[in-house]
């Protein structure tokens, strides 16, 4: 019974640098499903933008993921993908990393909300 109930719920996916992934996985969000698909992607300096894009789109398509956490500096690399995602689920959260502090002016959700008060941005 306990084993069955533990499989309930949807996942939190992570796309970010090494420390962000190690940290959030340590926090217990990591999963490898029966198709051997992980719900995280470690981005380093050798990772190409197309790989990040592909991974983001894959996470958006997966119906077992409800929240995607992405480092803001990584989100900047695939801004067009993030801006074009307007569905409420999965929710995309731009999170800071240890090297890149949070910048509210770059956040997709906040920029969209700011457009409410600025007719030029709508």
């Amino acid at each position: 019974m306990a084993l069955h109930s533990a499989a309930k719920g949807k996942l939190i996916a992570v796309i970010g640098d090494e420390d962000t992934c190690v940290g959030f996985l340590l926090g217990g969000v990591g999963e490898i499903n029966k198709n051997r698909q992980p719900n995280f992607m470690v981005v380093d300096r050798n990772t190409s933008i197309s790989e990040i894009e592909e991974c983001f789109k894959r996470f958006v398509k997966r119906d077992d993921i409800d929240i995607i956490l992405i480092n803001q500096n990584v989100a900047e690399m695939v801004r067009h993908c993030i801006d074009s995602h307007t569905q409420p689920v999965p929710a995309v959260l731009e999170i800071p990393s240890k090297d890149h502090p949070y910048d509210a002016s770059k956040d997709s959700i906040l920029r969209r909300a700011k457009g409410m008060f600025n007719p030029d941005d709508v």
Binding site: G9, G28, V29, G30, P88, P96, K98, L110
Partner: protein, 178 residues
Amino acid sequence: MVAEMSDIKDESRLDSVGLKALELMQQVIEKKMRLQELIKAGSINLAKSRYIMGNRNVSVSQLPTEDSVPFWALRKVENSYSNENGIKTPVFTLLVNQPLKKTKSVEANVSEGCTEDTRPSSDPLHWFGVLVPQNMRVAQEAFKKAVDLSIEIANLQSHLEALRIEFCALKFEKMKLT
């Protein structure tokens, strides 16, 4: 007279939605700053663990890969929908699964009844060894709090997005009238 009354009602609704959206934006920024502090604190403790255990022992190489045995996440979210002024808004709630300790009965369960997709997860600390430094446990606590906070922020963001849609609809109505 009636048209004027509904006009005033719409405008006051527009004002209240706008004000609420501004409050939510403020809350999102504040919570993300708090998230930044938690991530920084967690990263510092990961760095301290790296100093104690060695560079390679606290890195991506310790994380499970596609070749690893499938396992569940310990922290998941449950999704329900609230209907705010006709706009379907998702509400996320945290779902915590306790890591299963390997007792004889669990081992039997795993080998008998459970297929690969229902394998329970052990504490992620065990990926980094049996005797991990205290700093790593502190880092884990910081990141657990970061997960909880992320869910709160996700809820705020969904609410904000619903308000934005409502605001745009009200504004459109107002423009049609003028």
